[in-house]
């Protein structure tokens, strides 16, 4: 189930997509503002990571959808993903299933789990620890793209594993680009 996210194939695809995206973003333009350029680099990097990982990973779809849901990103995303790619990403960004569940469902789930913790078992220590685990999982849900739309802790943790592995690669590849450039000295 886990894709080889630190494999050479993934890194190669990631780097290639990153280079294409950075070029397409027209970042050497002298007229681009500081913040705009920085945001374009971040977007290019995120999208490259998600595209290299593939549509099979929920976090990857959610990450692209998140960028697509901001209108100011439309032009750049259209150039990177193509028209069809952009359209489906924008549609996913509007779809609550992929990006987040409804607030009502989240509230209900939290109440239910604390009730379960209170009524189950006789070991007070285990109950408290179990609740803390739940708390931590809630935080993770917010940190992983699309985490709030995931059902169950098992799928959340699987996505966390996958996402962390890819994030490490993202850092590695971007460091390589920074180090490699002669202008960096």
């Amino acid at each position: 189930m886990h894709a080889p996210t630190s494999s050479r194939k993934f890194k190669k695809a990631f780097m290639e997509q990153l280079l294409v995206s950075l070029q397409v973003a027209g970042l050497t333009s002298k007229t681009m503002g500081l913040q705009e350029r920085r945001d374009a680099v971040r977007l290019s990097s995120d999208v490259a990571m998600a595209v290299a990982r593939g549509r099979a990973a929920p976090w990857a779809r959610a990450l692209v959808a998140r960028h697509a849901s901001e209108r100011r990103n439309e032009a750049l995303l259209r150039r990177i993903l193509g028209g069809a790619g952009y359209e489906s990403a924008a549609a996913a960004g509007r779809s609550r299933k992929i990006v987040r569940r409804s607030h009502g469902a989240c509230r209900r789930k939290r109440i239910k789990s604390s009730v379960m913790a209170a009524s189950s078992g006789s070991n007070g220590g285990a109950m408290v620890a179990r609740r803390m685990v739940k708390k931590r999982l809630q935080v993770l849900r917010k940190l992983v793209p699309g985490g709030e739309a995931l059902h169950g802790s098992f799928s959340l943790l699987s996505q966390v594993l996958d996402y962390v592995a890819c994030l490490k690669t993202q850092v590695e590849l971007m460091q390589r680009l920074c180090k490699g450039s002669p202008a960096a000295a």
Binding site: R37, R136, G152, V164, L167, K168, L177, G180, S181
Partner: protein, 90 residues
Amino acid sequence: MSGRRSSSRGNSVSEEEINELISKLQSLLPASARRRGSSQASTTKLLKETCSYIKSLHREVDDLSDRLSDLMATMDHNSPGAEIIRSLLR
């Protein structure tokens, strides 16, 4: 309770399920964050480390985006791609 699998709505979490993925997660975290044992307390700690680690990775990517964008701003207009590709081939 410990043998119960997570329902499709994910309302209950079995320790075994978490521990299985937790041990894989352990190997991804920086060495300083690793813990022995699989008690609930260390599971909580590990999840907390994971949260911190993800946040720090996000910050690193932010910082690298800043540096990369500065570099690209100073690159020669005629060969932006060539510069990068040359650096990769080193």
